[in-house]
């Protein structure tokens, strides 16, 4: 008997704790079995959160398979509706599978190393001349891997698929906008996987959304945007609110964030000292290298940190930072202001004071407390919003912001096919919460002397006075 199309996508079945069975074609299994894809097993999905939640050591490999599974369900829907052909299904499943293959060790901590203007200004830089090329984003690395790394590109070419075709979908650069729209999806399919997976791994209950109900209520509007049936309203409200709680409990947890900001400062200094890839050009070369790339994972960073923890002289700031990471000595929080702010209201005065004075007076405080400036960590967590554009504009503005940006809001479709953003529905809690965002500013020190810590706390407290 001839095999059906569904059999083709169940050549192998992987059991996943979040989704159950994940079916794969032979081609997809071949891609997963490459060295380039297997590298994802050596990247922790939650990075340094494992220092606070000991079981949170799950990998990007399992998350990638999870997102692939969710996307494949959305693609199935498109094919059933006649929006995509069988050939397109094959192409898009592969793009979904490979779209995160370019993640950095410790992911965003390394990828966004160049994005803090104050770090360079406060710590100074030994670099002279034309600025080095910033590290490329991970989607660009994914595209390079797909096109240039032979283990992947040969498999694709042999299957009659142009690697550049897949790479362009991953980067959102395909001349067919609907491919880009699906992979860079309107409904955050990536989040649907990570909330549940991270909740399971950390033991924190807030991310346990009703994933299966959400997935079985996925639909498409006339412009091929993913939407949800109105009957899933409660499930989608929970999905939106879950991210807020997971952010507070895990992603922006005081100590998780402390280690993340410590790692970023350490990486910055390691790079200044020539111990880390100098520029985006170095990274791109490495990604194309047959064997060196296989070592581009969390363990590489860990080993550099461990080596420098010993190699740097005792009192050096870099040595202190490396040892704090290696020995799990959390930086001490000496100041924090957080505020859940109304979109229409101004930012809390206390938060503004804290941020401004921290920027203007940090150097003086470091001197006064006799703690090297390199041992102060001042990075702020990203604002947490309930909807991507909610806190920034009125409801009617949000709906008309632009087809692309508006599509990033969660839309519900009723039985008559009428579509509307959830945040425009006054009876939904998202309508009210989308006006809010959580803003935080923090300051940590890497210091063990209790007297110096107390002095730092007093200095920072004084900044908060009007």
């Amino acid at each position: 008997m001839a095999k059906s199309k569904l059999d083709e996508y169940r050549f192998k079945v992987i059991t996943d704790p979040v989704h159950g069975d994940i079916g794969l074609s032979q081609l997809e299994v071949d891609l997963i079995d490459t060295q380039s894809f297997q590298r994802l097993r050596r990247l922790k999905q939650l990075g340094l959160a494992t220092l606070v939640y000991p079981s949170a050591s799950h990998s990007r490999f399992s998350h990638s398979l999870g997102v692939f599974h969710i996307m494949s369900r959305a693609i199935d829907l498109m094919v059933r509706r006649g929006k995509f052909t069988e050939g397109e299904r094959r192409l898009l499943r592969i793009a979904a599978l490979l779209h995160d293959i370019g993640h950095y060790p410790y992911s965003h901590l390394v990828e966004t190393l160049d994005r803090d203007p104050y770090r360079k200004a406060l710590l100074g830089s030994k670099r002279r001349g034309k600025p080095a090329r910033a590290y490329p984003d991970h989607e660009k690395l994914s595209a390079i891997i797909v096109v240039k790394r032979k283990d992947i590109s040969h498999i694709l070419n042999d299957a009659g698929i142009d690697p550049a075709d897949i790479a362009s979908i991953i980067r959102g650069q395909h001349s067919q906008p609907r491919y880009n729209q699906l992979i860079h999806s309107t409904l955050d399919l990536d989040r649907m996987d990570y909330l549940v997976r991270d909740a399971m791994a950390t033991g924190v209950p807030f991310g346990r959304i009703d994933l299966h109900y959400l997935l079985s209520n996925l639909d498409l509007d006339d412009d091929d945007n993913l939407v949800l049936h109105a009957k899933a309203e409660t499930a989608v409200e929970h999905f939106i609110v879950a991210r807020y709680f997971m952010s507070k409990a895990v992603y922006l947890h005081k100590t998780v964030f402390a280690f993340e900001t410590l790692m970023r400062q350490t990486l910055f200094m390691l790079r200044e000292n020539g111990k880390l890839w100098k520029s985006g050009t170095d990274i791109e070369k490495l990604v194309k290298h047959r064997t060196a790339f296989l070592g581009f994972h969390d363990g590489k960073i860990d080993s550099i940190v461990e080596e420098q923890a010993e190699a740097q002289p005792g009192p050096s700031a870099l040595g202190r930072l490396c040892r704090a990471l290696r020995d799990r000595k959390p930086p001490k929080l000496v100041g924090e202001v957080s505020s859940l702010t109304q979109k229409d209201g101004s930012r809390s005065e206390e938060l503004t004071r804290f941020v401004t004075r921290r920027r203007d007076q940090l150097k003086a405080a470091a001197k006064e407390c006799n703690i090297p400036i390199q041992c102060w960590l001042w990075e702020d967590p990203k604002d947490v919003a309930f909807e991507k554009f909610g806190p920034l504009m009125s409801m009617s503005e949000a709906a008309s912001v632009s087809p692309q940006a508006s599509a990033e809001l969660v839309h519900l479709v009723d039985k008559k096919g009428k579509k509307a953003p959830l945040m425009e529905k006054p009876s939904s809690i998202v309508h009210h919460l989308s006006r809010l965002k959580l803003q935080m500013a923090r300051l940590y020190v890497v210091e063990e002397d209790k007297g110096k810590i107390a002095k730092a706390e007093r200095a920072v407290k004084a900044w908060l006075k009007p």
Binding site: D116, R171, H174, S175, Q176, P177, V401, S402
Partner: protein, 176 residues
């Protein structure tokens, strides 16, 4: 304000573009002008995907709204900063890309045509054997943007403008 928002504000000032976000056309103009400004060789780290209205960057939308919000709250971090000499020199070249707008074409359409034709010529995947000459690019353009269907001559004018400044032969502006 973070680094990218500060740089965005300095660049918008340098190309004389107000940070107006009230209408779709205003937001589109910012998207396309920033896209075209990056073609001077000044990499602002905005990555543009291909969508129904041409090159579009989610990060740019986010930064523009955040920047506007911060400015409305009275933040003026950018006043202490200025573009470095390299960036300043490059950004001065930007306006020549969208110069020579013919009468009868709205500015937002002109910018969309220039940015979209450039994107299809140099960046978008159009098939392994696509020639990326005008006819190919034009076909891909009206495939995704049917509203331009009757405006082939406008597209040809924009194509000629890209040619004039060197953006057909090269993906970014040749160094001055």
């Amino acid at each position: 304000m973070n680094a990218s928002q500060i740089v965005l504000k300095l660049v918008l000032d340098a190309i004389a573009q107000d940070l107006m976000l009230d209408t779709f056309e205003q937001r589109l103009m910012i998207q396309k002008k920033v896209y075209l400004t990056q073609l001077t060789g000044l990499d602002l780290a905005y990555r543009f995907g291909w969508y129904l209205h041409g090159p579009y960057s989610t990060e740019l939308t986010r930064d523009a709204f955040r920047l506007k919000e911060e400015m409305d709250l009275g933040e003026r971090d950018y006043e202490k900063e200025k573009l470095g000499p390299f960036a300043y020199k490059r950004v001065q070249q930007a306006s020549k890309i969208w110069a020579n707008k013919p009468d009868g074409i709205d500015e937002d359409d002109w910018l969309e045509l220039l940015a979209s034709l450039h994107y299809l010529k140099h960046i978008a995947y159009m098939g392994k054997d696509a020639s990326r000459e005008f006819d190919d690019v034009w076909k891909a353009l009206i495939d995704s943007k049917p509203r331009f269907t009757g405006r082939r001559s406008d597209a040809q004018t924009a194509w000629q403008q890209l040619d004039k400044v060197g953006l057909l032969k090269s993906k970014v502006l040749p160094a001055a």
